[in-house]
């Protein structure tokens, strides 16, 4: 299980832990992390491009580019750069299997 991701934490280490699920695997993040930070601290991508073969990992981090919308197991997507991680979130890089 690879838990080192793209992002490197440089400061603000003393925060409470939060657990979430990333493509079915349990992962740990810190309270106050955005979903983008949480996912990329333990992975390399947020989603796959719908128009090409490459994975995507966000671009602007200020809610303007919309590159970082990620899937949740229960269906609705969320914008990873403007949403804070919460205990028990179930996030996916691909659409849920039962998605119509």
């Amino acid at each position: 299980m690879i838990t080192t991701g793209r992002i490197v934490r440089l400061a603000e280490h003393d925060r409470a832990g939060v657990h979430f699920f990333f493509d079915g695997q349990i992962r740990r993040a810190l309270e106050g992390d955005t979903v983008l930070t949480a996912m990329l601290a333990s992975g390399h991508a947020l989603r796959m491009s719908e128009f090409g073969p490459e994975p995507r990992a966000g671009f602007c981090l200020m809610g303007a580019c919309q590159d970082c919308w990620v899937w949740q197991e229960e269906g609705p997507r969320l914008r990873a750069c403007t949403t804070l991680i919460a205990e028990g979130m179930r996030l996916r890089t691909t659409p849920p299997e039962n998605w119509p």
Partner: protein
Amino acid sequence: MSEAPSTRIAIVGAGPAGIRAAAALVDAGLHPVVIDEGQRAGGQIYRRPPDGFVRTPEHLYGSEAAKARALHAVFDRLAADGRLTHCTGSSVIAVQAGRLHVLGEGGVQMIFYDRLILATGASDRVAPVPGWQSAGVYSLGAAQIALKAQGVALGRRIVLMGSGPLLSLVGAQLVKAGADVAAVLDTSPWDQQMRGLWKLAARPFVALRGLALRARLGGRYHAGVSLEKIEADGQGVTAMRWRDAGGRQRLTPCDTIGMGWHLRAETHLADLAGCAFTYDEQWRQWLPMTDRMGRAGNGVYLAGDGVRLLGADGAEIAGRLAASACLADLGFPAPSTAVDLRELARLERFAHGLACAFPWPAAMVRALPDAAIACRCENVTAGEVRQSLDFGGGEANRVKSLSRVGMGRCQGRYCQLAAVELAAAHAGCTPDAVGRFRGQAPARPAPVDAFLRKG
């Protein structure tokens, strides 16, 4: 007073311009509604981390800490005293006469206004480089936000590239925080930078601070580079391929890239509000038209980087001016604006210097290979943009309809300038002759159920 204090004034954006506008209106006895996408007021440059983070403003904003503290304190006090209404985490997705459609946690709600002040700021002006769709390519602003608001570096080995004041600033901030910055690649050559220098003397302290930041980058900084290709594998970026000012080919291994060429005004809502636009040769982009105070007509006022790219200090002034204009138009005694207008003129001279020293890389964009991606939302290539001209001619909205450039999730924010540059080159005309993409609502993606729920 010709109107009751119940005049409804909506301000969109709680950065330096929005905060100063709100404070000036409250001083006059009005109660503005401030709508902002952030959870805490401050905007992007003075963005605050979430609760529970411990770094001080001095740590986060360096030489600008006092300004950030003052803005945050003013806004927090007005919000706590109930003198304004702060809609946090809320996006204006459409503007009709007198009515904003606002997407928040509870769905879409209407906010009605008599006067509207748009302080929507700016985002990075980016230009396509082959491979820029790869995971690990970010805007320069993103690299700074990650550090400031989250305390993280976006990768283990970072290359920054583009041109403009943010390039050296983000580089120096990342180095200071302990990130591994492999190279800082400036597409503006030294002689071009010197051409802007005399105007930069309008703010000698700021100009010197910029040079000091660059000095901290040492041998990482290279001026006059050509950017060739972002190399990537299945996981993302692996290296940056570039040529130095002497034409020597260089390959810098890295897993992350931050790119940007100064700023692009965020004008989507001004467009939806019906503002007139003009092509600004200096900034090589379309900007909304206002008078010196920020009046755009029909009760709409614009302030800050969303209309004139003067940076945070200019945004504070513009916010006050827009509020003054609004108050004067409502028949209120408006505060004196002479000092602010003089200062604005000085900041404009400095901004012209920046625009000259760190230009948009038009030649690089025009030479983009056909196979390179121009629109990273839908992977529309430069070749597809060029081909569309053979069917529809060199008009921005036909290029958009035929090639789908600018129709993806970012709605053209990050590809429009390049697409227009490509079209102009192919049609043999100037970018202003190609025109601009018409802004469409919604300004942000909105799930269908947001319209079904009552806000």
